[in-house]
Symmetry: D2
Subunit: 371 residues, 4 copies
């Protein structure tokens, strides 16, 4: 008996097995192309979704520029919204056609890291050294395609409530989950003062997250006019200019001696260092940036190690429960990510979208990609 015939409702018809799909393939630095590749099929514990909306992340720009290495031939992208097309053996509680959101990070739920509540550092099973749970568009094919294979589907398919549109949820997969986690990892309390460095999409969501957790006063640091406006909309009480030479002094004055929490959302030495300098003794630096090269912790800003400072770093929390919670926040209007979606492209025109997004021109914040 044929394994495929055993599950006629779940598996594709045989004729579909060799079907192709359109996808954005990385061929090398500065070389991405939308082309035909083999369409994936779901093995045990897996699912395939038909992508209805995705986006481009800053990390994808790093990949395109050759700054973050992935293997040529990989389909990139890691923010998938779609419809279930195939369900592998052992995946229960879903049916073909369900609309789902999948987080950028796809924890297995069953390895040492996951069972230690560190899902973002999932090691994908027994015996594999954990190196961060990011797989889509990094170690396996990603979301800028017509179809996407979702590993560990039981832990990662988050059903989208009917009243939410694809546009309302697509940024939850990475941007909002990461941004919010900057506030969450800092354990912001009611009444805390917070300074957020850089107001790109993740920084903007960190600002929103700080507001959602009860910060009494939020200072953001940004110079781009579009982002300054969006920052205020997302919750910043004051926006300061990163080029201000007295920036640290101004933050200390506005916060009565230093912020309780600083969130770094850019990933360069200057913002990291200034973020640390803006803290009161005992404060927390929550770092979301992806750094390159050596990072320096200045002796004085660090109080020589005796200032009771904390530095916490967070990769994007994933998994279906995280996505469910974030969608609940959109559903009850606590948070609206749609103003960040400034431009829209078809998958066929994704190279153009990368160009716009990478250049930051035309007030672009995030682009949507529709296969």
């Amino acid at each position: 008996m044929n394994a495929i015939l055993e599950h006629p409702a779940k598996r594709p018809a045989i004729g579909k097995s060799n079907a192709m799909m359109r996808a954005n393939v990385f061929h090398g630095p500065a070389d991405i192309r939308v082309e035909e590749v083999a369409r994936p099929h779901a093995g045990a514990g897996e699912a395939v979704i038909r992508i209805t909306l995705t986006t481009i992340c800053g990390t994808d720009i790093h990949i395109l520029r050759g700054e973050y290495p992935v293997k040529p031939g990989l389909v990139i992208g890691h923010e998938p919204v779609g419809v279930i097309e195939e369900l592998g053996e052992g995946v229960t509680g879903y049916k073909i056609g369900d609309r789902v959101l999948v987080g950028a990070i796809t924890p297995c739920g069953q390895c040492r890291a996951c069972l230690s509540a560190q899902w973002a550092q999932c090691g994908h099973g027994e015996g594999v050294e954990a190196i961060g749970g990011w797989r889509f568009g990094n170690t396996i094919n990603g979301a800028q395609a017509e179809y996407l294979l979702v590993p560990n589907a039981q832990a990662n398919l988050a059903k989208i409530p009917n009243e939410l549109s694809d546009e309302q949820v697509v940024l939850l997969a990475d941007i909002a989950s990461t941004g919010f986690s900057g506030a969450e990892s800092a354990k912001i309390k009611i009444g805390d003062t917070v300074v957020v460095f850089a107001q790109g999409p993740i920084g903007l969501c960190a600002t929103a997250g700080a507001k959602l957790m009860g910060a009494s006063f939020i200072i953001s640091v940004e110079s781009d006019p579009v982002r300054i406006n969006m920052s205020k909309r997302m919750g910043a009480d004051v926006v300061l200019d990163p080029h201000d030479k007295d920036l640290v002094m101004h933050v200390k004055k506005l916060t009565g001696g230093g912020a309780d929490v600083g969130i770094e959302a850019l990933g360069i030495q200057q913002t990291f260092e200034n973020c640390l300098r803006c803290l009161r003794p005992g404060g927390t630096l929550s770092s979301l940036g992806v750094y390159s090269g050596k990072l320096q912790v200045p002796y004085d800003a660090f109080a020589a190690g005796i200032g009771d400072y904390k530095i916490v770093t967070t990769l994007c929390p994933g998994g279906k429960e995280r996505m469910r919670r974030l969608m609940a926040m959109v559903q009850t209007k606590r948070f609206d990510p749609t103003p960040l979606l400034t431009h829209s492209f078809k998958l066929e025109n994704i190279v153009e979208a990368y160009d716009l997004f990478g250049s930051r021109r035309d007030g672009v914040l995030k682009v949507t990609i529709r296969p």
Copy 2:
């Protein structure tokens, strides 16, 4: 040399020493009277403030009714806003005339409980068994008077920012601090579902606190029309009727299997029990009510002890830092307590104010008292 003359700037002129003041004195159940009593003076580590605004708390009603015993002759009231009139030796960083808010609970900051971060259970110094840090209008004279002696002044005088009025801060001393703490002790996270039982002033602030901490969905339980409206204004998404026989079922349905957090803000068996029944396994019941008699924990609602439930209780957090943080929330418009102030009385008419507040008529939520 006379000790008083040593600190001419801080101590009252000798002629003032025997001055009297008007105060609301408890003489026994159903017997409070505004009368002349000796005006207090500040010893070492103490301060005297001239009260500019105070209020009546539900606990004061319990005192008046003889349900909570205090000694006859006591000036009652524990929510003081005022101006510094005298500063005792050793109190630094303040000057006569500073506008200050003092929390209902006045931790010393230096006993075992305080140095264990349990300021609300302050034992007021060495060797005293801690029995809760509430002193004003309980074990020492309180705030419904022209002047108030503030013990441990260094830890308890919170300067009021110029832009905030007395009305904007008076409810922070107890009502808002207690209500918010119901949300804080439950460790509400972004995306949590919360149910709040009873929407009196404290319950309303618990609702506001849950919203401030990032709850995705807040259900309150209340039947009074004025309070139902205020509940929605404070952040409730849905208000359910406590008399609804399927209340628990409705909460479970609305929250997809049970609330993450339940806040009890009344203090009776029925609300405690229903609050527990509304939780999902692993949920937290945060109790703010003051109970009388035996409290029962039903076997089934408690999952026989194996549901990973938590029950946390919280007395009002006090101290100047708590007050500073709450004032910061009002200053940046995160929270506005003034809609709760429905009626205003002069100290001379406080008996009338007790009558109105105790009867809950005329849509009263909180009254202000002005000496």
Copy 3:
């Protein structure tokens, strides 16, 4: 092609498919019998282990007495040590013959509860209302048998280090995991005083857990001489008699005003109530008992709800990572559970073992069962 033939290394020979095994079957109150039942086989995501050692839990006694209902025909027992016999599709990183320990609670790792770090309240997948993650010998066949089907094997098979014997690890599945969790859920800190009520196997492990977490002073409450001795061996500094009428006063005196933490390990009104009464204001009652009927929280012991008390309940933490951690503690000699194993029986004689264990005679603490 036959599915079984696809995995020759993992699946049993066809001839084994209808094989039978010996198991302890519950037929009704006071009626358990060792008899032949069908041997289980592993489906996708599952494993079958050949049991090499197991034990009887107090909960099994409740089942036998009809106090905890399970369906007749069920194989009971939930503390399995064994050798992998079959591995279902999708389970990776293991091989047939691996020695493994499986926790009493078997989280799936992929449902809402598990992805919220509440593995003990696992709902076993999508759409099932979580009612506690205990399945072995409760909702599916258990460990008092020659073979055991392990669901969600990837999350639950914990390899046993070579240097550890079966006897060294069998009590980690439930007794030690539960007992330690009583200390862990109370968040015991270096220097805390702790009182543990009842020194049965779980209470003894709670005592050991309190010591392991840095409690400065541990009082246990027990009257049985064998358990008193074992309590001291596990870490109690003082053992008090539960019949002492001044028990609470003695605890308060020994702890300088009340214990920081009380652990309840019996599950009756008296111990729960005394445990609460022994706490200092702001203390934590960590409850491990399984209660029946209504539980009362006395008004005075609870400080009417304003003592900042916490009551936390914990079901046994499970999953392979928990088991790995507990085995590491045994491996480095931080904890030795073997003194609790007082008697040993063959599976054929398990009825006799239940009789001994249920009667608490002959100094029995825990019995081992060997199929």
Copy 4:
């Protein structure tokens, strides 16, 4: 009436007012001298203790070498054990003659930092920018003297239980409090693996603290034979050589992929960096070292910021409650600091003691100084 005469039991006889005492005075780099200085007297809220035992800290060596600047003329030393000689106004619950331990850090308990539970960053009252709560031998006269003025005495005098000797408690003031805090700030859990870099007195206490909190496996890194032996005595399972070129690899192998927690107890680039490299993803670096110059966080060891790493720093927790808890640990034999006291000197010979302690010869770990 004279204020001094008002408190005859508490204040010194007038004749004593101009009394002198012997003290170790810092005059400049490489220049400390035991000489006569004015004996202190207690003002309001203060106390004077007669020192019966003190010690020399590594920080004092930095002062002596001119690496940590303090003002010439200062009496140095910050680890005081003594007997109460004078009690200022407002200090209650103590009497002259009480034996007391005072922590190296002396929180006021009443400022913003203290009321935020960050006692080590105490700002000493209103309006002072917090720069760390270390005052003895830093900003005010210290403990290497016959008498010591204790500020904020109510929060800082910890009575020594009769059964404990001065030698048993002197190291709790700083060394043990700091060392333990390295484990505490890392939130070590039962079953964690821990690596501790450097086994000087603080590192040794960090090792002891990790053991006390339930670490399953502790690796220390040290090359000095005396300290290697002491490390094992304090709880290390394995001691590795810091000069081992494959040190990180060995730690990763011994811990199955990286330690859960790394504690840095030296304060140099190499140990900080190696400590970070030894962690598993999601691990915590708890830093106790006092660094000089720029500290670098290597890109790879930090996983570019996306490894969910935490870096926490901790200054020594002080205050009487901390001291009470640590003394309780010694009293019940959880921890014995006396093996670290390798040499003893009279105050008159303290220059010799500095020489020995600074040179690390003769197997010195800590020296006692007796006035």
